[in-house]
Structures are given as C-alpha cells and as structure tokens.
C-alpha cells in the first residue's frame, strides 16, 4: 500500500488527520481554500454588525451585539491558526493570509458584501445569516481534519448564543409596531436571495466532490440549503412574515422544498470581484487596520531597554 492509499484507508476508517501527519497535496490545498475562506468570512462578517454597535437601540443590545462581533473576530483568529499550520510548509505566514483579503486573493461569503441598512437587517443577520452559517458549521463537525473539527466544536458552542441573540431581536421586532414589522419584512425581502446563494450552487462542483471524497465535508450544498429551509421556513412564517418567493413550497412527494433559484451570476460576480454594495468599503477598513497596526505588531517584538 502506498502513502496515498494508507491515507485514504485512515479517512475511510473515520480517523482524524493531524497537522503534522502526511497528507496528499490536494487534501492540503482543499483544506487551505475552505478554512481560509471560512476564517476570512468570520472576520469580514463582523463588519455588517459592527456598523450597528454605535446605533444599537439600547445599552443591553449594544453590549450584546458587541459581544457577538468579538466572538466572530475570535472565530477568525481560531481558524487562521489552523490555516497557518497548513500553509507553513508552503512558506506562507499570517501576514500573507490577511493581505490576501485586500489583494483580492481570497473570497468571503456573499452575505458579508451586503449592506446592513436598518436595525432589522442587523437582527436578521444575527438570526438567519448566522442560522445558515451554523447549519454549515454543524455539518463540518464530522470533518476528517482533526484541528478543524476541534475548533468547530468550540465555535458551535459560541454560536448557540448567537442563535438566541438573533432570535431575541427578531421576536422583539415581530411583536412591535406596524412600522417595526414592516421594517422586518423589508429586511427579509432584501436578504432572502443572498441567503439562498450562501449555500452555493445546486450542482456538486468538482472541488466539492473532492472534498466529499476526502470527507472534509459530507453533505452537499443543496442538502444543507434544504436543512436550512426545514428549520427556518416554519419559524419565518410563524412570526407573520412573507417569504419573497411565490413559488416556494414543500413537495411532499419528493420530500424537499421547491424554490426560485437566486441570481447565481449576480452573486458570484460580487464574491469573485468584490463588487457588492459594501465590499470595497469594508475591505479598505480591513487594509487600514492591518497596515496601520504593523508598527504595533513590530514594536511588541522589541525587548525593553535596560
């Protein structure tokens, strides 16, 4: 049995691969692509909500949304550590992983290119964008890469606070004035298509197929999207909201949701070219934070004089 076959045998037996274990190049590359994008999405994902920290409607809401933003940045840190170990043999460092964001060498999820226009948007992000992300992350808990599996366990534990936080904002608005309810409906209308796109294309791409082969992930995009529908559509309806899709229905025969597909082209352009409504502005802030902090990172390395 050669190295590659031994490796596949370990994977098939459900063993976890560790950072220092031998692994095929393809496996490493797939992991880097996936986890780097995940890490960067956590970091860029903090921006839409951080924009609402100064404008939160009460002190408690301000503290809570700040805590959430801090968690997302923390998730980014945990995930970047995993990527750092993976890119180490390739001579890349943390600096490169961050710079990749503003040199447009790494993508992040479409939802974080969009604008958080109102407090209802901030709440809806907390409820449904986090909801979608949680479905993705929960499905990755069984990943074949050990360090990723362990970090995801921690992340999921923190996400359970995010779920409650999002629900609470939404429930409050859903019980509010007619104007608040309308704001919530507008928000759902704005985000719905983005949420569908979030899970990725319906067909299983060659890269996704390889990830399934290596058990980096086990479910397809469409399976995850359907799980999201199962959990969230009844709740969205229960609070009196209308989902902006006249064709949405549950097909009892095929046991799955039928829906109008999002504009795949529009959103993949946003993700590939970073040209969504807020992409450039947020990426520029990230660049400033990284470049502006360089002297601090360097100063901290210096030994005190005397």
């Amino acid at each position: 049995m050669n190295q590659e076959e031994m490796f596949m045998k370990r994977i098939k037996q459900g063993e976890k691969i560790e950072a220092t274990d031998w692994m095929p190049d393809e496996y490493r590359q797939l992991l880097i692509k996936l986890i780097h994008m995940h890490a960067v999405s956590e970091i860029m994902g903090a921006y839409p909500e951080k924009e609402w920290v100064p404008k939160a409607p009460s002190l408690r809401r301000k503290l809570a949304i700040m805590a959430k933003v801090q968690d997302e940045m923390g998730h980014g840190q945990l995930l970047l550590r995993i990527v750092e170990d993976l890119v180490y043999p390739l001579g890349k460092k943390r600096e490169d992983l961050i710079e990749d964001i503003y040199y447009h060498r790494v993508k992040f999820h479409n939802v974080f290119h969009m604008e958080a226009r109102t407090w209802a948007d901030a709440g809806l992000i907390g409820w449904l964008v986090d909801g979608a992300a949680i479905i993705n992350q929960a499905a990755l808990l069984s990943t074949s890469y050990g360090p990723y599996a362990r970090v995801l366990k921690r992340i999921c534990a923190e996400e359970s606070f995010h779920m409650q936080h999002g629900e609470n904002i939404i429930l409050t608005l859903a019980m509010g004035t007619a104007k608040q309810k309308q704001m919530l409906q507008d928000s759902l209308n704005y985000w719905w298509e983005s949420l569908l796109f979030f899970f990725g294309p319906k067909e299983v791409t060659p890269a996704a197929e390889r990830m399934i082969h290596y058990r980096i992930r086990t479910l397809t995009n469409e399976q995850l999207r359907q799980k999201f529908f199962d959990k969230y559509i009844p709740r969205i309806h229960s609070i009196g909201l209308t989902i902006p899709d006249p064709h949405l229905k549950y097909d009892t025969e095929k046991k799955c949701w039928v829906y109008t597909e999002p504009d795949w082209k529009k959103f993949s352009e946003i993700v590939k070219k970073n040209n969504g409504p807020k992409s450039r502005e947020r990426i520029e802030l990230r660049r400033q934070a990284h470049e502006g902090g360089r002297w601090v990172r360097q100063a901290m390395l210096c030994k005190p004089v005397g």
């Binding site: 050990g146 409650q164 429930l171 019980m175 469409e222 229960s238």
Partner: protein, 122 residues
C-alpha cells in the same frame, strides 16, 4: 561535611487527549529526569486503564500562569450567554413555535438524507 548526592528531577505537567475530537486536558504532574521518561511514566501513572490517543508532557517552568484577579468578573455578562435569553422560549410560544438549539441543528445535519443524496447523483 559531605553532601548526599541528590538527583533533582524536573516537574512535568501531563495532558491527555481522549479522542481526536477532544482537546488535551490537564490530568496532573510528575517528576522525571527527561521528557522521554516523563512520557513513559505519565502513561504508567495516568493511563493504566483509560485509553487515550495522545499525551503531552510540558516542563512546569514553561507554563505561565495567571492570577485569579486577572480572571475576575465584576460585571453581569448574561447578555452574552444563552441563559440571558430564556424569554425567547416564551415569546416563540406566542407564535406557536419554539426556540432553536444547536443540538437540534447538529441532529438535523447528522441524519442522512438518502432521498436527496441519490437525487444529486443524477
């Protein structure tokens, strides 16, 4: 006055990982002359019955410890905990629904959906 020759062993802290999806957890310490022997003795001391997948020994002087003050919590932090949102359950009931938990989601993604899988193959 001749001093008795005393072999001074260093202290090693021992961490055990029970399964690959768990973190390494501190279980105790021992004294040993080298890290190789610390590893051997840690196995005999802490893993005579329990199984494990990985063992770390770390020289105590390489561990930095905080003071309790450093970890003090004066403020109420319920706003960042699940238990700060117990009212959600009551609010959902008003809409004839219930609060969603991470456990429910994990259970949902673990249950294999054969229907969809075979459909995707086409």
């Amino acid at each position: 006055m001749t001093k008795k020759e005393v072999a001074e062993y260093g202290v090693y802290e021992v961490f055990i990982q029970k399964s690959y999806t768990d973190p390494h957890i501190h279980v105790g310490s021992l004294v040993a002359p080298t890290s190789e022997l610390a590893m051997q003795w840690a196995r005999e001391n802490f893993l005579r019955r329990d199984s494990a997948v990985s063992l770390w020994v770390v020289q105590r002087e390489h561990i930095d410890q905080t003071s309790t003050d450093f970890l003090a919590r004066e403020l109420d932090r319920k706003y960042r905990e699940v238990r700060g949102y117990t009212e959600n359950g009551r609010l959902w009931r008003m809409f004839k629904e219930k609060t969603l938990t991470i456990e429910e989601i994990v259970a949902a993604v673990e249950e294999k959906n054969r229907n969809l899988k075979s459909k995707n193959k086409k």
